[in-house]
Symmetry: D2
């Protein structure tokens, strides 16, 4: 039985979970107990993320990008119901005939869907209904997990692991969307007042230096024998890279403020053409969630985080966050540098020996990036904190093959008009990420925890 709303607190021990993450390949070798643990952990974490929410917070949708939290909770259960329970349960009966229409995200093969931009107009099913749906699906999933036959097990395990990775993606979206819901509310609600608040970090900041990587023919991408990965990370393939450099830390609020104060948002020569058009159309003059108070209120820049509304002056060494690809590119141009390609990023992560476990991920419950440690520059701050915009368009790798059937819609059909981001963020579950992991957004999107890494030529 998975912890329901309100009851999840006791069962969720992050220290243990992060440790378990390191062994997460274990349960993909056929052990039912391992998969059960993985399933229980992931499903509990979604509930834990929603604990600070009032019922009303589950319902609203401030923009088309954002989904109501209850939709995420329902959709992830629908995924298991549609692709697992329906296929493997001997006496499958749909939980509710109307839920498919409501909780299908974008699977054209499955059938018609409620329009994406109308998710916030649906008061029913209620939050309680959605939690009941989760409980029912969990019960069925755990029953199948115990009873599915050995011949069926590999496919059941493969799809369950996919469904759990899918839910982890929605956990990141939950954090992003809750932030959007709270940040646009004039009453400025707080999500979780972080104990280890970045605003009170007192270490000396890490200076900026370049690390160089030699030119050569490298192999990037995920090999099937290395465990689970999304299809878009495969197959491994060779790329030729010119020599390049990478900065040893992310761009900070302090760095970015200098760009703003130098008129970065008023100089078209710094911007891609589409970026400049977006700046003009949207009236951008700072990252998302930044707000300059009027002169009568002090005139200072502030930033809304999930722990509240803070002066930027208290966050200067924190990585800048919630910038679009356009802003990342303009900042790089202004800096006389450029963004890395995704291949450069992956090669740097491989050569530098960066470890995922070093990163500031969701399990740390900071819900915001943290300053780079002064004393560990070797790590390059590649994993966690913020997703790093690359200069690479999101396109299929050579010889990429989509999964067949409805699940073939998972990744491949989005390989158009988006840019790759790498490394995960403070809203990504630690075990979800890999060196080969490819995240992607349209270049104007800013509601992800996305930031800037600078690269150069060598």
């Amino acid at each position: 039985m998975i912890a329901g709303k309100g009851g999840g607190k006791e069962k969720y021990d992050y220290t243990t979970m992060v440790a378990q993450n390191l062994q997460h390949k274990i349960f993909s070798t056929g052990q039912r107990s391992g998969l059960k643990q993985f399933y229980t952990d992931v499903r509990s974490r979604s509930v834990w993320l929603c604990e600070p929410l009032e019922t009303e917070d589950y319902v609203v949708q401030p923009s088309e990008d954002v989904s109501p939290p209850k939709w995420h909770l329902g959709h992830t259960s629908w995924f298991f119901e549609t692709f697992l329970v329906q296929a493997f349960h001997p006496h499958f009966k749909v939980h509710h005939a109307g839920y498919g229409f409501i909780f299908n995200s974008y699977y054209e093969s499955i059938g018609e869907r409620s329009p994406r931009n109308a998710r916030g107009t649906l008061s029913r099913p209620t939050v309680k209904d959605v939690y009941a749906y989760r409980a029912a699906i969990d019960e069925q999933m755990l029953a199948i997990l115990e009873t599915v036959s050995e011949p069926q097990w590999p496919e059941f395990e493969r799809l369950t692991v996919l469904g759990l990775n899918h839910e982890e993606q929605h956990q990141e979206l939950l954090v992003m969307d809750i932030k959007s819901i709270f940040a646009q509310n004039p009453l400025r609600p707080v999500y979780r007042a972080s104990q280890n608040d970045t605003a009170h970090h007192t270490d000396a900041p890490r200076g900026r230096t370049d690390t160089a990587f030699a030119s050569g023919l490298y192999t990037i991408g995920h090999a099937t024998e290395d465990g689970f990965a999304f299809d878009n990370e495969s197959p491994p393939h060779q790329v030729f890279l010119e020599g390049f450099t990478l900065e040893n830390r992310l761009v900070t609020n302090r760095d970015y403020l200098a760009f703003i104060e130098d008129g970065g948002y008023t100089k078209p020569a710094l911007w891609l053409s589409d970026g400049w058009a977006t700046v003009q159309r949207e009236g951008w003059h700072a990252p998302l969630y930044w707000e300059k108070l009027p002169e009568k209120s002090g005139g200072l820049w502030h930033e809304t985080t999930l722990s509240g509304f803070h002066e930027i002056s208290s966050l200067l060494d924190v990585p800048v966050c919630h910038v679009s690809h356009y802003e990342a590119d303009a900042f790089a141009t202004w800096s006389g540098k450029r963004l890395p390609s995704e291949a450069e990023w992956e090669v740097a992560a491989m050569i530098s020996g960066a470890q995922v476990t070093d990163g500031n991920f969701l399990e740390r419950a900071a819900f915001h990036p943290k300053p780079a440690h002064h004393d560990a520059p070797a790590t390059l701050q590649l994993f966690g904190d913020v997703w790093e915009w690359t200069a690479s368009a999101y396109l299929p790798y050579p010889r990429y093959r989509r999964e067949s059937g409805a699940l073939g819609e998972y990744n491949g059909k989005f390989m158009s008009g988006q840019m790759v981001l790498r490394g995960g963020s403070c809203a990504t579950p630690a075990k979800h990420i890999r060196r080969t992991y490819r995240n992607f957004f349209q270049p104007d999107k800013r509601w992800a925890f996305s930031g800037i890494r600078l690269a150069g030529d060598f």
Copy 2:
């Protein structure tokens, strides 16, 4: 103490209230007990209307016209706080500094407001917060009511009566908006399964006949000495009318279905030019909330009401509802008739001696129009059931004067681009209506309980 959420059921006795309505002028002669009763009745009724709602239903906004129920509950309290408590309470302290921004509807004089189309994106304040706000304002209002000085009493009473009439208008909006929220939900929630359901009405339908009214110089409009009315109903003034006829009942679903089946929605010659453009743009082919099931599901017309989803065939004698002015006008043209002017309507109501108390109003809790009684044709079905679109634009009467100050924004500034409707509907509180009452909507709006009365020349 006003009944809070969940506790209102016992205290709300409709039989008594309708009787009281007939004496509602009593409390406008200076009796504090009468005003207190009026205040308590009205404020309780808003709560009663929301009783069937889940928390989630209070939050959503399916279109810009519709407001979330919790917004209505907050806004009506804000109205009392802003125009009464602030002015009359000796130790006024604003309930919450952020609520003015959120609950101001359109009073430019009061200050900036949250954008109307973003009301459904605000999860905070919560429903519980809003009920606490109501309770706090009620407490303050009732305290003032007991203690305000005699010299201040008349102005306090005048504004309180205005505030209560304002809340009654929002009660009708609550019913309209709840219907919109439920009707667009694919799970088809039911608001209240009416005991005296119109779907089971078995009387013989009333036939259509014309009543004639002679030409002449008539006086219409509201005289101040007749008790409360909105400023837009004054002053009384003379109008010359040519002889005219009025049909003895509202247009029914049966009548309207004939228009649909004759291709009414496909013949531009029947429509005003703006109406035809709207039909094309919106893809209208029936009233709002009508839905023709696909052939495989029987192919029949259905209508969503607040008591559920019904076959039109069970509602044929019920007045057609949720039509726009454009549809009303096109139907009239197709019928070889026309819509009445608002002066014709008011004169007919006066001459025919129609009584408000005859009507199917909110207190009957039918939440839907009812068929005209076969045996009482004299009443003309003028009051209640559905608002009747007139052929008159909503414009100021001769020598109309707006109230000064912020309350001058109440009516006058909307006298542009809208059409007048008369008579009240099944969502209107009975005591709220008068023969002189002028409702108004843009000609393309359909979410009010609006229907059709045909007129002719004589």
Copy 3:
């Protein structure tokens, strides 16, 4: 034979034409020579209006409201071809099979049409083709005029007079649209440098006084026996008016500048709600065609007229022009006055004995309003100069009947969402106007020569 492009100048004598206008009822008594003269005069005037145009000026469409001049020239010929030549020519053959689709404006009964907002994308038919079309239609019309049988004559004459009045309406549109085309061009082309330029008017301005009109029952509207009028002016009918006053002249640029300088465009309390929304959305801060030069260029208000770009300071006594109904209403509110109803306007015109021939109409070739004469206040400046926004919505008169068939679409279907204007403008042919004439536009439109007359209560 009608004068073609370039050959019209000699044949168009305005002194004679204005004199003829006074006898324009003569040719509606059956005389073929009278109708021929009328036909020739009107058709020549359209050509004369286009004389200053380059071929390119005939083609463009700066906004959906505006039509390319060549479209007007083609459409007016199409009207004669469709409603006259086709009906009365014994051997009718359509001039070009594709022209119906292109030159039909809004007659749904006639068939499909090129979308209104795409008129400026059609380079073909060329200007030369359109003039050839006009010549061909003229030839056929004049041939029918000579040969149509006596029994057919009355209907032929009636429809021809309608077609000529229709073309006169498009002559006003031509002036409006040419002004729009020129005024938005950054090269500031001049249409006709007026000899008697309003900018150099030196008379003392007329002061503002009120003329009072008694309350009573009046008859307004057009009686059939008084000659041609559009159907929307009929039938004559009684209206009861309270006593009212009318100012003795139009509101001038000087008056309006005081409104602007008093912050008129920044005070929502002065505006109708729709008007204020329009001001915000469109960024209005002055009438259409006004432009305040940047400080470095002197910072003065200027106005583009058809004779060029002038400082407002040279046009202070000229009636303000190109204001919307919203602006007219806001100005009236700011002035503590109101706009007249259309009935008040018509009664005042009747009682004051104002003569159409006094007015500054199209034939004077000023193409701009002129200051009121100091020495003739009795005339009230009711006719010509600018159309006067009234407080009346454009609705059918009691017992109004549309023409049957396609021509029934001429007026009736537009009786929704528009406001009435009265009196004609400097772009209206003098003989086109009447005391009963009803012009109409949506309240946000400004490209007509529309201005402000103030009224009050008496």
Copy 4:
């Protein structure tokens, strides 16, 4: 002196020009006569392309993508005036102070511009004015060419060659835009009735076969010493390619019709997500300029070309044209193949020894692609006919550097949101193209002469 409008016909000899194209590097070695010849040839060709136009055809803009032909003629002259005459003429005087605002396309560094989507609303400057502008600039350019000092010559030559390549790009746009202007006109005007009309091609069609290319490390991109190229083609750099195959000819109308008839436009599984959304939103069901006549007119597919309106059945072996990247990708998916990357395309062109001169380019005056010759399969039909959509996003090559100053806006700022096309089309001047040439459009654009080449894995 360059040939003006109407006088260009005699001076434009295509046989000679194509021959000269092969030696077009000669004039980039410092010979003034060579550059003069190049200048004269290019500038004459723009005039020649406009010869079939009526004045009205120069003015209109059917969509934001399309510019009026007179704008192209003016803009290309403005380019020479701004970047050459102004810099090199000893007594520079701007031709017209207002033209910079009108004819600047997108150079933010130069100053404000008329909005792109308003180009079709500008009747002035007239066509005659624009030709006078061209003549004045030509006179100045040729004077400078004779007199500029030796030290200044290299930079003058470099920028002139850039200006001429710029004008050649606008020549392709002229053909595309004229086609758009003509094709959307209901009168179906013909541009040039081609003598060697593709509709009458009778050769047997070329069959479809694959050519294989080995995996390996290749160098692509343009080296400076190879003569003129745009900055986006540099620098040369290594790429690793897996083995791949390329089909030996372009996809034809016959091939594409099979896709349509198999329901290609109704199956979301074949489409990228953005592509499917575009299909739905735009109502696509065939390439741009295809039209299926109604059943009563025969029900056959037709295609509008610059030589008229033809049945598809007469064009079955002609390469399909005017498809978007989305359609190209969907067709490839349906075919079980994929689009080539731009590196694969360039390597195939290099290895196969394809010659630019083989191609069907603008000088052949066919203005439409032609079927592949049966007897020369080795050429692969890589150059000319239609631009070939690749699977590559338009991004900077490694170590790409923009030009400094305003000309740095030429290419770099568009490296976002677009896909690369290769090979040139029947609307591209032959000497303009290279193996390394990178064209680019947003993936939903269809008004270029863009088609499909299929690739596969090997």
